[in-house]
Symmetry: T
């Protein structure tokens, strides 16, 4: 079965915007899984604030995952957010197994957020010509992730 | 670092209950990723009801994932819900890529729910002696997943 | 048409749990009808508190009716809550017609609750081996009905 | 004990309005029991929408049952909504036992709503002279049931 | 200044409907003042239920006062709800000064509600030809006050 | 395709009630469009209060449009609320283009409300025999529009 | 029947505080009746803002009426808020009958608020020694009425 | 009266952005009227989901109509959303009269959404230089309408 | 460790206000424990109203306990609300063990409230010079407890 | 007065379950008093998170106190939660007086939770045969307290 | 223009109370600006709790600013809260520019709160004779700021 | 201490975007202070609507101040919103001291909004190349302020 969902975009525009969105879906799902992993395994004096801040991160990642995936469908591109795909293609840093001290969790999240934001910035540039609607969504995601990046850095300062 | 979280359970009880919980965490995360994948890719005359029912399934899976993972921490066992672990260890059926007709989605969800419930039932038996608190949580999860199993079957009847 | 809804339970387990649930559905529907009948027909100095307490009883009975009926469907058993079935099979005490003094209403509700609870207790024992998920639901129902039983007794003391 | 609740209506007015209300109470309780019975037993591709629409029907029936019964009490007439009375006197169509295909459920509900509405229309005429307050309530009930009648027909078209 | 608010009613229709509404405004304001007076001064074993039921009565009376007064303005008739007018023209029974036993309060409220309802019934008849919109509002008020009349009688039974 | 929705009304009753409802739908849609047009274009010292009052008018018109249209469907009559139909058949006064001073807006709304109410009054009389349920809805609409008519007149006084 | 409610205050303290509270109850009831009278009868360009501001005044007056009356009961003094008492003893300015221009309403409310506040200030002084709890309530009432006094003056400036 | 509302835009920028906004207002009003027309007239097995999805469409269209019209006023351009203007200038497909099968409704909405989105895309390009604020709003509207376009297509697949 | 929390009060002022607050904390905790004890053990015809009124008392006592304790901390005084301290220092009347008839509960609560209020009144006088902020809080507590004292007396009258 | 509340349990079952519940009530009240004591007296860099986490602990303890006490009443056993009983019989660790550093508070709460949980576990075993409904409640309490135990340990790690 | 708002206070009373309120307005605005400045610039391990606690401080300061300014207007005194006035007259400590470590922020806020509270205490004494209503407001502000002073000190202990 | 917060922007991009944001923070704080100053000091017939509209303006300004300041922090730039900075650098028009007639307030706000919007437009152009995320925020702020600019102009027309 091919192309059950049509779009007003040109094929090349569709390809560029679709690639940007699908890669973002994968990064954001991994971010939400890492956020939960850290939420459960963090220990240390700052346990409570870090534990709660991680759920705020997870909520953000989940909300934008849905937005990016449904923007892909809106331009006729099928998104792929299955575990295997995420495990293979995510641009986020791997997160270690087992209990983690709060300071280590903070450093790890700061680093992962920086990696995800850097990839987003490239996609914002790439999608400008292809589809301003997609670019606008990627800008929204970057705005929020950069805000979280500041907050997690501020705790590490 | 070993055992930062202590428990009143005996080591053997802790091992049995911990194994049951960690495996449940993995199954439920995969269930939530499959639910979202289907939520985005379903097409067909029943699109809207299936699209919405899948989000109900995802919310259920996410809520119980957290409950199971935090029960594991409560008995001093570190849960592992990272993408790689889920991709490797999940007991759910694989979900195909690309757009999917609504009838196929329904059949796939019915089958995956049956697989997850069957594994849960075994863990309910195994955890009875080890930890009635853990067993009680697994019973709650089974009760809700079996209810969803009925609802998804009812649509296929 | 037979068995459109499958279950992981063995046939004998399904039969025992299904019987317990279906009989509970009938008792609870009758309890809700009796509660409303009393709600409308009570008179006397304690009219307001009894009138309101009866609606609390009706809400409880209705909520658990749904829970028990949907647990039956979850294990592939079709529940029967039609007027004729309730009139024929209910284990609740009959409630007299016409206006009723508040003291008489209280005595009647105490007696009906005792009858329903006693039958529930037997089903809790019966369902332990057959299906712990069903047993767990019946325990929840008993817990709440025994609480109401105390409250209605307390008014009669 | 006779007549603990007095009314400003003449005895004949009270009798006519009381009869209309008591018969309505019985029809509406049966409608709510049938609605729940169908809610649990419906199967088929339209399971979810029909399952939910039936709860909307049940809520409507329950709300108006209370309104009609408390209008009866307001004019000094004791309503009777016990299981036995409903089983004996209801004007609704009987609903078959066991699992039911969604199309059969829709046809059955359309037919039952038509029967209940037709009886209501007669009572609206009968109560005009006897008691405009009662008539006004019956008109409200008819308005909502006729709206539901359209919606259930529309699904069958 | 005369007639700043025009209406589509004929002068005679306006006069009849306006008289019915203005008299209702006065009765309902007095009912709300009596309700509050009783709310503060009631004593006795049923203090709490009577105290609270009186606020329910006051809320009802206040809401309908506004509805009746704004219906009068809608047909170009200026309503008069000043203390002096209420003291002079109310059809409600006078309420005694000082602390009152709960049983006395109940009897007094039952009697006042009966008086107000009887006057409302006459205005419903009178306004039928003059203005069905006004009649409809008076029917709504009567429906609710007759319900309260039953509830207060039920406590006295 | 003819008559997919049946009704308990006689054909003549259906025709009279249907005509009254369909014409009301058209008037109310135009009222909502005029309300929005004025909402955007009003200027002058009373801008804010008029701007907000117009949204209250629009909400009212939209709510009753839906009620009238769905009452038409409930008696088997298809309503027509398309732009062309509204432009051709509306009984409301035309509203001028461009920015409008607040005083002019008030006078225009008062005049349009009077026209719509006058037509409603005729339909209330016409539908009394045909269908009391329809009449009851038209009375509700008139009650609210006459209240708004007073409020808009009061500002002009 | 005498003194069913006892107090820890001395008889003289009780008399002074009780007089202050009972007179405040009467003033505030009259203020709420005047507020409603003006709410219905105001006309003119500022109709909407004045109409709404009057309801804010009425809510304030009603809330403090209850607070003052229940403070009287708390010190064993029976409050009197019946229509006849209010008509005879209120310290508020009389409000004219019939439709009133908005400017006239504003001037009238400013004047009435000033009169009520002036009387409150005297009672605040009088109750300081007698009962600081009563004084605290009167200060709260004065604070809010003086705020309203400013707002109504500001409209007249 | 000319130009009561000034703007910081150059006249040419104002003209381009104003034209884009005013045409969008007309398309969106028509979309909301078509959505309601379909909401009332749809019949068929998917009645409920389509009936509800149409209200979601109407809410979206109404919300963006207001946003676009108020953006026009913000740059000093008077919007025109009267029935006659909509009937003459809308870019949406005409919708047939009378009852409509659900499949036909879905095809019709898909086609109308495509037409409206295509026109929006042109205005997004046109407004980039003229006014980035206006462009941003048009991008938001397109993002949501393209999402709805996917959802309606998905049902037709 | 001494004095980690500083205050602007003089040492003597701090001592007087601190003593008043700490003693109030102890009385109010005991009041809340007595309220709960009675809530569980009351029986008799007025069970429901007394059972609920006791929770209102408990909520009040708990809220003011926190307010008084945090006022103590705000002036640098450590509050002591441990079970042993409450058992030793409370000024409330002891409450008997076991089931209690409703009339006995009412008399007991009236007596305990009177004792607590009397002690509060002394502290209000004592704290006037020492700290008007503390006095203001004690006045608030007395106002509410005296209101409850009236309500519980009213039930006993 | 003996046994005003009857139960369906055998006397021996009642004794075992009643003892388990009454001891739990005492432990939980002490836990809530200790939680509040710590809430007020904690100081140190982690003041805010510990201060808030203690209120979460207090809410939990209060909620389960009520549940356990009302389960005791439901089986005809009078609970005793008076200050003196709690001071004498609590199984929680004593909490020191005066200001406490946050680290000390955390260690103290961890230790007290461990003691309370250990006692709960014994009662879960003891009540299994005596009353599954009581056992189910104790399991719920243990599940939540063990979760809190993990969270407080995690902060100390 | 002079004195558009009149007051019942004597000129000297008005002057004293007005000065106290206007100076409080300036202090509180500065407190809210400092709170926001710190909210944005804080860094360090306690970032999150301090960041959030600062917003609680800002909300408090803003709420009381409004209360104090509107109390000034209520006694006919025009408040001045413009940037220049705040920069010139504030009694709060200056806050340094640039990023600030969390410990430094805490010390700075403790010191500023102490300064503001000390000035408030003087105004409470000064306003006692002049205007008890104003004094009551200043006491409320001091109560809350002293509570915050404790909480910020507790974090520094 | 330098640069505790890193960013993915180039230094020049960071400088341009940071300057635009910091200047916006200062303008918006001044706008909120002016809005409050006017909120308290406005008098005249339109007092209420202007008084309320000013709070809407203040809420808008406060919300965007936070957004702009936190966007600055997100790109590693420390914002400065202290009273002295605002008094020195704000681009808003000065607001006169003392009571102000409503017409003067409206003219003053229109002029200040125009000044702020003009500066924002320049920063939108400047930040396009430097940082699209910052530009997007500035566009959002301009959109809302231009909407308010229209509404305040409309009142002056």
């Amino acid at each position: 079965m091919t192309d059950p969902i049509s779009t007003v975009l040109e094929p090349e525009q569709q390809r560029i915007a679709g690639d940007a969105l699908c890669a973002t879906v994968v990064d954001l799902i991994d971010l939400s899984l890492i956020g939960k992993q850290a939420h459960w395994n963090v220990i240390g004096p700052r346990f409570r604030t870090v534990h709660e801040a991680l759920d705020e991160l997870v909520d953000t990642a989940r909300g934008f995952t849905d937005a990016a995936a449904e923007r892909a469908t809106a331009i006729g591109v099928s998104p792929d957010g299955r575990a295997r795909t995420v495990a293979a293609d995510s641009g986020a840093d791997p997160f270690p197994e087992g209990w983690q001290q709060d300071g280590d969790v903070i450093r790890s999240i700061v680093s992962t957020l920086a990696a995800v934001v850097r990839r987003l910035r490239e996609r914002i540039d790439a999608s400008e010509k292809a589809d301003p609607v997609t670019q606008d969504l990627l800008i929204d995601i970057a705005a929020r992730l950069e805000q979280l990046h500041w907050m997690w850095q501020a705790q590490a300062a």
